[in-house]
Symmetry: C2
Subunit: 96 residues, 2 copies
Amino acid sequence: MLKVIAQDFIRPEFVEIVRPLYAELVETTRQEPLCLSYDLFVDQNDPGHFVFIELWPDRAALDIHCASEHFTRLVPLINKHQRQDATFILMDAFAG
Amino acid sequence: MLKVIAQDFIRPEFVEIVRPLYAELVETTRQEPLCLSYDLFVDQNDPGHFVFIELWPDRAALDIHCASEHFTRLVPLINKHQRQDATFILMDAFAG
């Protein structure tokens, strides 16, 4: 299992413009056969800080997601309104 | 609902020392009546980067967690081995 946190930082004046793009990205990604979970959150202290929390079976599934039609179409439209580069954390479950 | 990401950064030489402290923190926190989920992950690119992904009904529940016996006992023991301050993101679900 691969847990992912992806963080986007959008300029405040464009938050309303990216909102429908995020909604479509979430909806279409959840339809991917290999998507185990794909949830989007917004920082309570920063309305332009969008945080995806994702679960994929493995790295190959994440790569398929990143090459999908919806991802390659929507993410560049979102990124036009970034105030800084997105960040990504790929994680394993803590083994104890 | 309150989603939380808490990130700890532990000095590499102390990762094995903090591991049982994290295991106890996860086990005891999951027994809190108000804890909806409390999962711990490790960055694939940084074995000292520990990431909690949490779900609480509200801020009051998180405050009870932070005042609990296990939290106030274990977190200072973990933090002795930090290489930088922990970070916290408090989030709402994206409304679409």
